[in-house]
Symmetry: D2
Subunit: 319 residues, 4 copies
């Protein structure tokens, strides 16, 4: 199996893919080949083209919100489905060639984006250190790893925990990000249009276009979920692109296509919306099972169908 991810190596997306593989059955792990891509679009093209078997991409960030690039790419391809999700804490470490005291650190290298997220910590803990830009956090870590002992003297990199481990660096400090608790959610997407079986703690991802020029359409759309007792864990608007004020909605619903309540909500959406794109049903990363009201349990749907079916057999056929 060939797995693409948004690279370079040791990004948080790489981390998400490693987490996913750690949970996967032995046969998916064995011989897995991990291939970095420079964008979600190129990775998706490779997936659709058959060059790789799955991709991992960020979909939602607790600080920045939905990852537009991923949402738009997924919505524009048929026959690819999300089969899993992974949540990765966004945390940084200070790492060096060898263990040293913070007072020994004279220069800190990293990507400007990462530096912005740790500047408070640096100011407080390394007030005298020089800041050296690098093309990526991975590059910063790798440069130190490849330096000689002397060159690396007093040098540290700000990078992901995975980068430190990957390049064999020693961690001087962990959790040095200024905003604690940030997380990014990643999805694993495959081509072969297989939907993992229901686990009871699942999520279903959709993109829904609303009917044009119809006041209250968003309300009606949401009522299809509430009438079936389906909770939403994420809803995000994305422009359709043809005019101001025209939006589609990217949605994560609690439950699996195998759940009657989810299937019923999908049917309702399909009836009322010009377009509904089903992106997959897959186990929730937190394994938390949904609480289902008796009125929207599978049995209730089955009983109701059976009842209406029996009534329907009483209809006199037209001669």
């Amino acid at each position: 199996m060939r797995y693409g991810f948004l690279g370079p190596e040791t990004t948080f997306t790489h981390q998400a893919l490693l987490q996913a593989l750690a949970e996967a059955p032995e046969d998916l792990r064995a011989g897995a080949e991990l291939i970095p891509f420079t964008s979600v679009a190129t990775a998706t093209a490779a997936l659709v083209g058959g060059d790789i078997d799955a991709i991992t991409a960020p979909i939602e960030n607790s600080v920045e919100g939905g990852v537009s690039g991923t949402l738009d790419v997924l919505a524009s391809h048929d026959r690819i489905t999300i089969v899993a999700e992974q949540i990765v804490p966004i945390t940084f470490v200070l790492a060096a060639k060898r263990q040293m005291d913070l007072s020994e650190v004279r220069a800190v290298a990293s990507h400007t984006h990462a530096q912005a997220q740790v500047q408070g910590w640096i100011r407080e803990n390394l007030p005298g250190a020089a800041i050296e830009p690098a093309s990526s956090t991975a590059a910063a870590a790798r440069a130190i790893a490849e330096s000689s002992e002397e060159e690396a003297e007093g040098l540290a990199a700000i990078c992901s925990p995975l980068a430190a481990e990957h390049f064999g660096l020693q961690v001087l400090a962990r959790g040095i990000e200024d905003t604690k608790g940030a997380q990014t959610r990643f999805v694993i997407v495959t081509r072969n249009s297989r939907i993992p079986a229901r686990t009871g703690a699942d999520k279903t991802t959709l993109v829904v276009h609303l009917p044009h020029n119809r006041s209250g359409a968003l309300l009606e759309m949401l009522e299809q979920f509430s009438a079936n007792g389906v909770n939403l864990s994420r809803i995000e608007s994305r422009p359709i692109g043809d005019a101001l004020g025209r939006y589609s909605f990217s949605i994560d619903a609690e439950g699996h296509l195998e759940d009657r309540r989810v299937a019923s909500a999908l049917r309702g959406l399909h009836r009322m919306c010009p377009q509904v794109i089903y992106l997959g049903s897959y186990p929730r990363a937190d394994r938390q099972r949904s609480t289902v009201d008796v009125a929207t349990a599978d049995d209730s749907y089955d009983d109701a169908s059976r009842w209406v079916g029996e009534l329907s057999r009483m209809i006199t056929p037209v001669p």
Copy 2:
């Protein structure tokens, strides 16, 4: 075929049954036997017991509202269904043995209930006439019919148009009721649990019990209809009988069980309500076809089911 009705002969219920037979196919009309009953309960018992094949009973009056007796009896029997409805205008005539001028009328006989509905007209048009009570409007008409010419001199009856015709009386004045436009709706009920095929202008009658102790249950119940684009033409509360404030609802919905939108609403009700009693789908008396939004047309339900069905085939079977 033996047809029961709420008697005696020449009641408005009798009129409704005659209207229904006039519209029925020849084989249902030929040899029809019409049998008056003293109450809807006894007629229904005869129907359930197999003594008769159908009954006609009033269900809704434009002045008094739902006919509780009929609603409650229908809701308490299984395996009887409404197969047709008839609307009869509630109008009275002044009738006599022979044509005469109003100034010749010296006494007017009728049931007190009918007299109450024409008292304005009588005061204005027959100020000097004596009022004579009768046990029913039919009895008043029959008495005059059976009198000799001399006995009937100056006598008139207030009765239904049907009674005047049935007993061979001459109509002196029509439409003498003080409130114009009153109507009663009647239903024809059969035992054999057959539902007439859809005509495109149909009505479905239900009794629905709401979940106990659940604020907003009525709203949720109505949303099952609105989510499927089904209009209600009648909704009436009836006490369940076990405590104050506990109600069931008697409902006429536009559409037929064969309409996907009606079947879908019924399934929703069955899921959320402790009891749903289906009383039949039948042609509307006014033959007015429902306007159906494209989102709730049969095709939309079928397309949606097909789409979800195709998605479901992508689910990986559990090994």
Copy 3:
């Protein structure tokens, strides 16, 4: 104060009025004159005309449902308001001139309506007793009370507990009704358009006409209540009288006009409905306080109004 009630004396309505007076302040009780009327309509006319100060009438029965006569009369008069409610258990006693064993009872007198409600008990406990019709349960009780000892030998009346007490009879058996737990709710109505102050456990009664020819109007009407967190304890349809399928709704809502959430719901109804008749806010008979969500508490309404008021002061006046 002169209090009218649906008579004759010792009816359950009489009982309701006595209960209400027992709870009333001393000055309302002192010198109270209780006057039976033969119908709610005549009592209401006397109230509106100023002959009496208040009336007591049944409004809802746990077995029969809403009392149409009372609902329709209340809805058709301005300037009368419900100021209190009373709930009376519908229960019957077997009473006689003196205590005796059931085996000594040879004849039972009552109104046919009451007999119908105790026939199971009579069949089981007094299989040999003769049934004697009376014009009312009160008349049956009074006749025994006014008989001589010999005449009353072996005679018993089926009547209300109040009638037995009122006419000085001895109770041979209590709670002899076949259906246990039936209750009737009564309202006390006054003319002077005073609304009792809020107690925190109140009810508000309304009659609402829905906009004509507007699908979903009932749903919209109910949403005015739910959007303000107001629960309904009773909703009943009544025909408007001008055509089949045209209904008004008689409603009991939890809360008082002084509650912001109730006032807000009333404003919403007034906007959307062709007619809203306010029939009063009054303490609940069961003294049960409503649970109010923080979003619909008075403070939330006041805060919201203050906030919008402050914003509105920022609007630039048109020069």
Copy 4:
């Protein structure tokens, strides 16, 4: 008056500000000073700090969607309000020092972002031209303007129509963007917390946080608008930033704070939501008046308030 805008000069934001000034009264135009800023955040800081009087910023793009930077900055400042909007078509021109035939163009300079949007047109119309990167479309235009006639020979810039005009270039081709019809909406924001008076064709912008852990909260929020007949022309989710799945919503509603229906919806939101940020009411760029149902017209709100006010005066004061 000092007006800040997202620069540099000749950006589409600059264009929006010029459009706004063209519509403004003479006294606002006279002596207006236009000051470019490098980010919405710095411009907003200058506005809040009192250095400038208004800013112009992009808020929504028909292709990319909401402009997160602007939305987030506006939501995080008190006492600044949107007072106007402008819509600018996103269109590019090919411009040169002097008029020339397309076949004479040998090199085309622009910012890479603009080049991406016209690459189809360039491929087709200038297949042989060299592509020269510039730091901005303005810089590309300015460089040609400042070149000598000989230096500028065969050189053209891809820039906004405004840039061509501003730098005195000749337009060789208009509307050369590959995607036609793209538009960006801009807002003009002031500090002094003044809300322009209602014009009848207005828009109100809000940011709303939903109650936490409450299924159906989005539905309830939208119902506050629909219950008051207020349409939404834009709704966008933005992460609150503290956890995955926690969103606020940025909303444009049709109508003005002076409209009773908008004020009523705002009160409802304030009651149910932990935070509601009012960002202003202002004339719609398209001057299109909202259609208002009679039930949500100002008069209906006023009548309803008057009616409930009169009822409330009937409440007996607590002694």
